[in-house]
């Protein structure tokens, strides 16, 4: 797939991967051998009918291909960009055994983009069932759940705390990986199904979940995501110049700090930026730092390259752009100058021992290996926990020891009529898993609504 050259893209926030044109897409689609028993589908958390939509692209029937995808996935332009396809559908492609798998994600993206660029989709709003469902959080899980419920004729209202819908798609994933216009268009399409979105609405502080139920919502879906940044609890962590990845990315993506002062929210990035962690969020932050003018940007990770949890493509793009990997080290203390700004970190070296509970080799600190690492900005990208605002105000909602909601595989929680899915249940995971959870919950909510009607 064509991409913006690394030397150019590091100076802008334009999308890195440029996507297929029709000729390339058909060529790639023709590589699909249309297995009688397709294995790719089992790798897709939402079960997209992959061979069928690829066949339609072969036949240049792109609108039909998109309809086919949308039977299972409401947001293909997003998933085509941010799904970890190499670990999902493409991993199970028969061709992957011998050569490169069919680029399923890129084909999905091509089809979705073609529709966004070329035609207005028409939406049939089904007849109203009379049931009302409240969705808390307009991120991937909530949006997907809303889309599926609306298609079944239920009246859906999404309550979102921020001033735009989209959740992590808007505040977290950078423009260069997922253009915000795509998210906006997908959400506009969702509204055409009759879904209403109430912005600036912090459930728990305004109405609680119980109050929503009292107000006549027949069911509530909680999809509030992983919205609480973790820090390492090491000395110096509150120095000026230490950000959570959430803050760093929210300032940049949601508040458009990269366009300061045209947009009023600032961000301050030094010359040498260390991002602690090596997931997709860390890659996003490290690449963002370069685009914001940092001269050096480091991924600081206590395991080795083999264990890096980020998508391979993101790591590759990051390295191409000049992000440097500092592996098998971790900070133990952050040091500041006399004005309280970060100037360096003490790091300690690690070696890998036996596999731990995560299945990855356990990092073990090497005593006496402390050394100084000169740096002036630190971004903590070591994960996020569940935001407690909704959870604390919803009595009867069972939580696990990490503070995540306990829900069964259909999203049913310990509280009748209350469903949950996405990162608030699983802990920080991927967009597509959240979407999958949103879908399952929508199905379960639909069944639940039918049981109320029978009573």
């Amino acid at each position: 797939m064509p991409v913006q050259k690394a030397t150019e893209r590091v100076n802008n926030f334009g999308e890195v991967a440029l996507g297929y044109d029709e000729k390339m897409a058909v060529e790639e689609a023709n590589r699909c051998i249309q297995c009688k028993k397709p294995t790719c589908i089992k790798g897709c958390p939402v079960g997209v009918k992959i061979p069928e939509f690829i066949q339609l692209i072969k036949e240049k029937k792109v609108p039909e291909a998109v309809s086919k995808i949308k039977e299972k996935n409401s947001f293909p332009a997003i998933c085509g960009r941010v799904c970890p396809q190499e670990n999902q559908c493409e991993k199970y492609c028969v061709l992957a055994k011998k050569k490169a798998p069919v680029a399923i994600g890129r084909l999905e993206r091509f089809a979705a983009d073609y529709m966004l660029d070329n035609r207005e989709e028409s939406y049939e709003v089904p007849s109203d069932t009379g049931y009302k469902v409240a969705i808390v959080g307009a991120g991937p899980a909530g949006l997907t759940c809303a889309a599926d419920l609306a298609k079944l004729g239920h009246k859906v209202t999404i309550f979102e705390a921020l001033h735009v819908p989209g959740g992590v798609l808007m505040y977290g994933i950078p423009e260069f990986r997922l253009p915000k216009n795509i998210v906006k268009t997908e959400i506009e399409n969702l509204k055409k199904l009759g879904v209403e979105i109430e912005l600036n609405y912090v459930v728990g502080m305004l109405d609680t979940v119980d109050e929503l139920l009292e107000q006549g919502y027949n069911a509530v879906f909680i999809g509030t995501g992983a919205g609480l940044p973790y820090f390492m609890n090491i000395p110096g962590e509150n120095l000026n110049g230490v950000y959570s990845a959430n803050e760093f990315l929210t300032r940049t993506n949601l508040m458009k700090a990269y366009d300061f002062p045209n947009n009023s929210t600032p961000i301050k990035v030094g010359e040498k930026v260390a991002v602690i962690g090596a997931g997709n969020v860390a890659m996003d932050a490290a690449r963002t730092a370069l685009r914001l003018g940092a001269k050096e940007s480091y991924i600081v990770y206590r395991r080795s390259q083999e264990e890096i949890p980020a998508r391979h493509e993101e790591l590759e793009h990051a390295v191409e752009e000049g992000v440097q990997l500092k592996l098998l080290i971790s900070p133990t203390e952050i040091h500041g100058d006399k004005n309280g700004w970060v100037k360096g970190m003490t790091c300690i070296n690690y070696e890998l021992g036996e596999p731990d509970a995560s299945g990855r080799r356990k990092p073990i600190a090497i005593k006496g290996s402390e050394h100084y690492f000169s740096i002036d900005t630190v971004v903590m990208a070591i994960g996020q926990g569940p935001n407690p605002l909704v959870l604390k105000t919803t009595p009867g909602l069972e939580l696990n020891k990490y503070g995540n909601i306990v829900a069964n595989e259909n999203g049913q929680t310990s509280k009748q009529g209350v469903f949950a899915g996405g990162d608030i249940v699983t802990g920080a995971a991927t967009v597509i898993l959240a979407m999958g959870a949103g879908r399952k919950a929508a199905k379960a909510i639909d069944e639940y609504l039918k049981t109320i009607s029978n009573n």
């Binding site: 705390a161 921020l162 001033h163 505040y171 912005l199 600036n200 609405y201 912090v202 502080m205 305004l206 919205g227 609480l228 940044p229 820090f231 609890n233 962590e237 509150n238 120095l239 000026n240 110049g241 950000y243 959570s244 959430n246 803050e247 929210t250 300032r251 508040m255 458009k256 300061f260 002062p261 045209n262 947009n263 009023s264 929210t265 600032p266 301050k268 004005n339 309280g340 935001n387 407690p388 605002l389």
Partner: protein, 274 residues
Amino acid sequence: MYKIIKKQILSSSIKLMEIEAPKVAAKAKAGQFIIVRANETGERIPLTIADSNKNTGIITIIFQEVGYSTLELGRMEVGQSVTDFVGPLGKPSEIENYGEIICVGGGIGIAPIYPIAKALKNAGNKVISIIGARTKELLFWDDQMRQISDELYIATDDGSYGQQGFVTDILKNFLEQRKQIAKVWAIGPVVMMRAASNITKAFHVPTIVSMNPIMVDGTGMCGACRVAVNQETKFACVDGPEFDGHLVDWDLAERRLNMFKEEEKVILDKKLWR
């Protein structure tokens, strides 16, 4: 959209606005704050709620124009609407009948101390209020404060109104004379809250301060508003904004507030109206 119903210029740099936000007004309690975004390119500005009315659905905010974003908000007029208005955020003040309490409001801190003093008064406390500002021009709401206080004391740095000196001077005098003060609320600039806390600490009087760190989302998501309390990191937006003033790390609070000083200059230079 959230309409500006009333605008009042309290001093050359301090403005009051009444904003139509019925849902927020229905839930707002003393000590909580809101986040306002004036327009599509604006910053999210946290402001403590100065007053709220469930019946009219109106929230009163008072702000000092210190940087570009507050200047921009201050330029808006009655009839216009701010793009976003989120709240109520943060934990409400713990209002009980403590007995005799002192509410200290310094400068712009008079705005947030008002609803707390009012709630404490309604809860049966004897409310002694001490408010102050650099100069008379910057002092507002002395009438409102008088109405809800059993005793009101006023200080200005230059002596142009009330006693000459700091609110903390009056506070200290009070604590020296009256031993029965159950609790102190002190809200204002960090230097003032710090000074007030130092004084009350010597007299062992529990003291609540309201932290006003830099914030983005206000719901616990970004961690920008980190404050250290008793050497533990807290998020002012969800764990606060009120904390035990005797346990706050004031040096840290002061440093973190200055994080974007240079950027504030840049935007003022580039975008200030002429």
